[in-house]
C-alpha cells in the first residue's frame, strides 16, 4: 500500500525543515503524554479485557465498513468503493479471526521441552503513518492490532486521506473507550506537516514507528533512530508457466489487478507468459473483459501513464478505472473494459510499462523458455519490487521451487491472485495485513506480513535446563586374574595384536593367543614402546588393511592402546583427518568437528591394559605425539572407546617400581580431577571416590611390594575405575599442564602429573578468579568435593579449609613415599630454560582441551603460576596430616 505515495506526494521528509511553533510542540507533547499515559494504564489489562475490546472494535469496523469506504473514495478519488468495503471488512473480520485466539498478554507461548516461556510486553506508544491508497482499512487494521497488543497509537494519515482516516480512528477509539480501553489510547494528528512527523518520530516516548507510507516516510522512519516498521514499493512479476490452469490464472489476475483499481501494491505488474500458452492466455484475458493493446496503443499508453522524466507512474493514473485511463491515452476500448494489457519486449527504462503501475494496466511478456521467463521475472523483481511480492501460476513443483528460490520477495504466491493473496488469510495462511514487510531488499526490517507480533516486545523467560549427561564405557569389561580368557568369546577371522617389544618378549602375546578361538588368523604388530606417532599409526593401518582385520587386540599400556584406537579410526574411516579431529572444543557435544560415522571397514577393538594408570582401555581419548611440533595431540570421541576392556592383573605383576609409581599417580590424578570436574555426576563420583580410596591405600603397597597380588589387582582395577570416571567427567588443569610440560621436556606423563598435583588441588580449592560456564553443576563446589575426599580418606580436619590442606598434605606424603622428584628443578631443568619455555608452555596448556571441565577457569597467568610452583616444588600447605602414614594406609 505504499508506492503510490511516491507519485502522490513525492514525500521527502526534511528533518532540517522549518522549526515547529511552541504551540505546535505543546500540542504534539500533549498527544504523546496522553498516549504514554494510556499505554501505561493499558499494561494492567488482562487478555480477556483486550479480547473483549477487540471484538467490539471488529464489529464496529464491520458496521461502518461501507461508510468509511465511501468517505475514502470521495476524499482520495482513488479506487473502487465496493472494493474498499471488502478491504475494510478484511481489516476487521479477517484480522479479528486471525488474532482472536492468539495470546498477546502475559505468557503467550510455552516450550516446556526447552524450558522456555515467551512473555508479551506492549511497546507503549506507536507512531503510525497511514497511506492514501488503503486509508481506512489500514487504520482499522492498526487500531485492532494496537488494542490486541495493549499499545497506544498516534496516527498520521496521508494529508489527502485525513478526513476518512480520522473518522476511522474516531470510530475505533469511541468503541474501544466504551468497552474499557484507556483514555488517550488513539489519537489522530490534526492537519499536519512533515515537521510534525519528524518531531514525533524522534520523540523519546514513542517506542515504535509503523510507517505504511511512501519511501520518503519509510526512510525518515528508519533514519529517526527509533525501531521502525516500514514497507517497500512493489513491482510484482507474475509467471504463467505452460502447465498453469489458464482459466484460474487469468481470472485471478484480473480480479487482483482490478481490485480497488489496482491500488494494492502487491498486485501484478508484468505477466511473463510461456510461449506455448501466450496466445491462449491473451485470448482468455480478452474474453473476460481485458483490452489487448497493439504496439501503437502500448506506446500511447506508456506515454500517458508513465512519467518520461522519472520513469515512475503518473499520479493521475493511480487508482483509476481502465476505461478512464484508456480515454486519457486516446485508446478506443469497449465499454466496461476491466484491464488494459500491454505487450512489452523487455524490462527497464526503455520499456516504460515494466515498472509498478497502481492502476489496471498489466504489461505482458512472451517468454520462449522457462529459463527466459524466470530471468524476466528476476528483472521485474529487481526493477523496483525487491522484497515485496511475486506470483506464479504453475502445476510444475520444480518450476515453483525454482521461482521461490529466485524471487527476492517476502510473499511468493502460488496459483492465487497477487493483491488479495498478499493481504493474507483469504487465499492462503499468511497473516492478514495491510502492511507488507519487504525485507532488506525493500529497506525494511522484516519480510513478514506485519501483524500483532510486530507490535510486541516478546520476552523469553529461559529456565536453567537440566543438561543431559551420560556415562559411556565399553560394552564389556572383564576384570580380575585371568580375565584375558574372555577373548575366546569373540570370533574373528583375522586378528591383529598390537603390542610393544617388551610385552612380546615377556610372553604376554602368547597368553592372549592361547585364548583366541581356534581358526583365528593372528598377526602381531609390534610398535615402539612410546606414545604413538602418526608414522607408527599408519604402519599399523597398513597391516590392518593387508590382513583385512576384523578384530584388533591392543595389548599394552596407554601408548599401545591409544595407537590401536587411532589405527582403528583410520582403518574404518581412511579419510579421517587427525589434525582436524584434534581441533579444540569447549563442549564435546557441540564441537565443530564431528568424528566420521561412515565406515569402510569394521573391526572390534579389545583393549588389554598392561599398566595400572591410563585406563585407556575404557576411555574415549587417545594421545598422539606430534614430534615435529613437540606437542601432544589429544583425540577425544566416544567412537574411540574400545569395544571390550580386559583388566587382568597378571599383565602388571612385573611392572618396575618407577612405572608403578608413574602410572599409579596418573590413576590418582584421573580420579581427583574427575571428582572435581564440572562434568562430574553421581555416576562418575562413585567411581572417582572409590579409585581415590584404592589408590591411596594400595599404590604404596604395590610400589614397595611389587609381587603383592592384592595390591596389584586393586591398583589395576583402580586405574580402570578412575578411567571410567574421567572418561565421562573428563580431567582438568593438571592434565593440561602435564601434557604441555611432558611434551616440551620429554617427561613421563605420570611424573609430570605428580609434579603438579598438590599445587592443582590447592589451586582448584581456592575461590576461582574466573568461573567456567558449566550447565552441569550448581555452583562452585570443588573445595567441598576435596573435603569429602579428605573425609573419605579419614584425613581429619574440622573445616573445609583444613580438610583440603590435609588432602594436599596426604598427596604430598604419597608422592614422597613413591620417591617422586618434588620439583621440576630437581629434573635438572635450569630456571633460565624453564623461563624461556614458559610462553610456549602456557600456550600449549591453555590450548589443551583437558582443562575445559576444570572447576576453575585457568587464566594464562595462573597456568604460569602453577608451572612455577611446580618448578620450585613442595606443596603450598602441609597442615593437618603429619603422620608418616595416612589413616587409609594404616588400614582405616
Amino acid at each position: 500500500m505504499a508506492t503510490s505515495e511516491v507519485v502522490q506526494e513525492r514525500i521527502q521528509i526534511s528533518l532540517a525543515g522549518e522549526s515547529l511553533s511552541e504551540e505546535r510542540i505543546a500540542y504534539l507533547e500533549r498527544l504523546v503524554s496522553q498516549a504514554r499515559s494510556a499505554a501505561a494504564v493499558f499494561t494492567q489489562f488482562t487478555q480477556e479485557d483486550v479480547d473483549r475490546i477487540v471484538k467490539a472494535m471488529a464489529l464496529a469496523g464491520l458496521d461502518q465498513a461501507q461508510h468509511l469506504a465511501r468517505l475514502a473514495v470521495e476524499e482520495t478519488k482513488l479506487g473502487v468503493m465496493e472494493d474498499k468495503v471488502i478491504k475494510n471488512m478484511v481489516a476487521t473480520e479477517f484480522v479479528y479471526n486471525y488474532i482472536k485466539d492468539k495470546r498477546t498478554v502475559g505468557i503467550i507461548r510455552e516450550f516446556p521441552e526447552r524450558n522456555l516461556v515467551e512473555v508479551a510486553d506492549p511497546i507503549g506508544v506507536i507512531f503510525s503513518i497511514t497511506p492514501i491508497t488503503n486509508p481506512t482499512s489500514t487504520v482499522l487494521f492498526k487500531c485492532i492490532m494496537a488494542i490486541k497488543t495493549r499499545n497506544a497509537v498516534i496516527f498520521s494519515p496521508h494529508p489527502n486521506a485525513w478526513r476518512c482516516c480520522s473518522e476511522a480512528v474516531k470510530i475505533m477509539y469511541e468503541t474501544a473507550l466504551k468497552h474499557g480501553a484507556p483514555k488517550g489510547v488513539f489519537a489522530c494528528l490534526e492537519s499536519h506537516t512533515l515537521q510534525d512527523n519528524a518531531y514525533l518520530m524522534r520523540h523519546k516516548d514513542v517506542g515504535l514507528i509503523d510507517a505504511t507510507g511512501g519511501p520518503g516516510a519509510v526512510k525518515a522512519a528508519y533514519s529517526s533512530g527509533k525501531p521502525a516498521l516500514g514497507v517497500g514499493p512493489g513491482n510484482t512479476p507474475v509467471y504463467l508457466e505452460k502447465t498453469a490452469d489458464v482459466n484460474t490464472a487469468v481470472t485471478d489476475i484480473i480480479l487482483s489487478k482490478t481490485f480497488d483499481n489496482g491500488t494494492i501494491c502487491a498486485s501484478e505488474q508484468t505477466a511473463v507468459i510461456d510461449d506455448e500458452i501466450y496466445d491462449f492466455v491473451l485470448k482468455k484475458f480478452a474474453e473476460l473483459g481485458a483490452h489487448i493493446c497493439n504496439e501503437k496503443e502500448t506506446r500511447l499508453l506508456a506515454r500517458t501513464v508513465i512519467d518520461p522524466e522519472t520513469g515512475f507512474m503518473q499520479p493521475m493514473a493511480v487508482g483509476q478505472k481502465a476505461a478512464d485511463i484508456a480515454r486519457l491515452a486516446g485508446l478506443s476500448v469497449k465499454a466496461g473494459t476491466k484491464l488494459l494489457i500491454a505487450p512489452i519486449h523487455g524490462v527497464g527504462r526503455e520499456h516504460p510499462l515494466s515498472v509498478e503501475k497502481l492502476f489496471p494496466v498489466l504489461a505482458v511478456y512472451r517468454a520462449k523458455s522457462v529459463d527466459e521467463a524466470l530471468k524476466v521475472c528476476v528483472d521485474v523483481n529487481h526493477a523496483g519490487g525487491l522484497g515485496h511480492t511475486a506470483v506464479i501460476f504453475s502445476r510444475d513443483d520444480e518450476v515453483i521451487r525454482k521461482f521461490g528460490e529466485l524471487m527476492n520477495a517476502g510473499r511468493i504466491l502460488v496459483n492465487s491472485p497477487g493483491s488479495v493473496g498478499a493481504v493474507g488469510g483469504v487465499y492462503n495462511d499468511l497473516a492478514p495485513t495491510f502492511s507488507f514487510g519487504c525485507g532488506t531488499g525493500g529497506g525494511n526490517s522484516t519480510t513478514d506480513n506485519v501483524n500483532i507480533y510486530h507490535y510486541l516486545n516478546i520476552k523469553r523467560v529461559a529456565r536453567r535446563t537440566q543438561a543431559h549427561m551420560w556415562f559411556r564405557v565399553p560394552n564389556q569389561i572383564y576384570f580380575n586374574l585371568n580375565a584375558v580368557e574372555n577373548v575366546r568369546q569373540f570370533p574373528s577371522l583375522s586378528t591383529i595384536i598390537i603390542t610393544n617389544p617388551a610385552l612380546e618378549k615377556f610372553g604376554h602375546v602368547d597368553i592372549v593367543r592361547r585364548y583366541l578361538p581356534e581358526g583365528t588368523h593372528v598377526h602381531v604388530s609390534v610398535i615402539p614402546d612410546a606414545e604413538p606417532e602418526i608414522k607408527v599409526v599408519m604402519q599399523g593401518v597398513e597391516a590392518l588393511n593387508f590382513y583385512k582385520a576384523d578384530q584388533i587386540i591392543a595389548l599394552g599400556g596407554g601408548s599401545v592402546i591409544d595407537a590401536a584406537k587411532i589405527m582403528k579410526l583410520k582403518y574404518e574411516s581412511p579419510d579421517a583427518d587427525l589434525e582436524e579431529l584434534a581441533a579444540p572444543f569447549l563442549d564435546l557435544r557441540k564441537r565443530v568437528v564431528q568424528y566420521p560415522t561412515e565406515k569402510t571397514n569394521r573391526a572390534r577393538l579389545i583393549a588389554i591394559s598392561t599398566t595400572s594408570g591410563t585406563g585407556s582401555e575404557v576411555t574415549p581419548f587417545a594421545v598422539l605425539t606430534d614430534k615435529g611440533r613437540a606437542r601432544k595431540v589429544t583425540l577425544a570421541d566416544y567412537s574411540l572407546t574400545p569395544d571390550v576392556a580386559i583388566v587382568d592383573p597378571q599383565f602388571v605383576m612385573s611392572m618396575p617400581k618407577g612405572l608403578t609409581a608413574d602410572t599409579g599417580i596418573d590413576c590418582l590424578t584421573h580420579a581427583l580431577e574427575a571428582a572435581v570436574s564440572s562434568y562430574a555426576s553421581a555416576y562418575t563420583d562413585c567411581n572417582a571416590m572409590q579409585a581415590i580410596r584404592m589408590a591411596f591405600k594400595y599404590l604404596p603397597i604395590a610400589y614397595e611390594n611389587p609381587r603383592d597380588e592384592e595390591a596389584r589387582l586393586m591398583m589395576h582395577n583402580a586405574a580402570c575405575i578412575a578411567a571410567m570416571a574421567f572418561a565421562n567427567a573428563s580431567v582438568g588443569v593438571n592434565h593440561a599442564l602435564a601434557h604441555a610440560f611432558g611434551a616440551r621436556f620429554g617427561v613421563a606423563h605420570g611424573r609430570a602429573n605428580a609434579l603438579i598435583l598438590p599445587h592443582v588441588i590447592a589451586y582448584n580449592a581456592s575461590v576461582p578468579t574466573k568461573f567456567l560456564p558449566s550447565p552441569y553443576q550448581k555452583g562452585y563446589i570443588a573445595h567441598k568435593k576435596y573435603a569429602t575426599i579428605a573425609d573419605l580418606l579419614g584425613l581429619g580436619g574440622h573445616t573445609i579449609d583444613e580438610k583440603v590442606k590435609n588432602l594436599v598434605a596426604a598427596t604430598e606424603q604419597l608422592l614422597d613415599q613413591l620417591a617422586f622428584p618434588r620439583s621440576i628443578a630437581e629434573l635438572g631443568i635450569s630456571k633460565e630454560e624453564f623461563e624461556r619455555a614458559m610462553p610456549e608452555l602456557t600456550k600449549l596448556a591453555f590450548d589443551d582441551p583437558s582443562w575445559r571441565s576444570n572447576p576453575r577457569m585457568p587464566l594464562m597467568s595462573e597456568l604460569a603460576d602453577l608451572f612455577w610452583k611446580a618448578y620450585h616444588g613442595r606443596g603450598p600447605a602441609r597442615a593437618g596430616v603429619t603422620e608418616q602414614q595416612t589413616p587409609l594406609q594404616k588400614g582405616a
Binding site: 504514554r36 499515559s37 499505554a39 501505561a40 494504564v41 499494561t43 494492567q44 484507556p182 483514555k183
Partner: protein
Amino acid sequence: MDMAMIAVWVRIDEERIVQALQEAEEKLDGVEGEVALDFSSVRRIDAVALSALEVFVDIADDKGVKVLLRGVNVGVYKVLKLVKLASRFCFVN
C-alpha cells in the same frame, strides 16, 4: 526528617480515586512533613486517576509535603514508573 508527622492518612478507594485525592488535597494545608495515601485496595489505575495523582503531587510539592503511597501493587507501581511519576513518591508496604 527525624520527627515527620503523618498529618493526613487517606484510604484510596479504586472506584473514587479522583475524589479521594481531591479530599486529600483539601487537607494539605497545614500538613507538615508527609501525607500518606493508602493504595492497598487499588487494583488498577486509569488515565484520569493518573492525571489527578500528578496534580496532587504537584500541589504537595508546592507545599513542601512529601507524598507517601502505601500498599501500591506492582501493576500500579509499573504504571507509575512508565509515566515517570514513581520518583515523585515514597513507597511503603
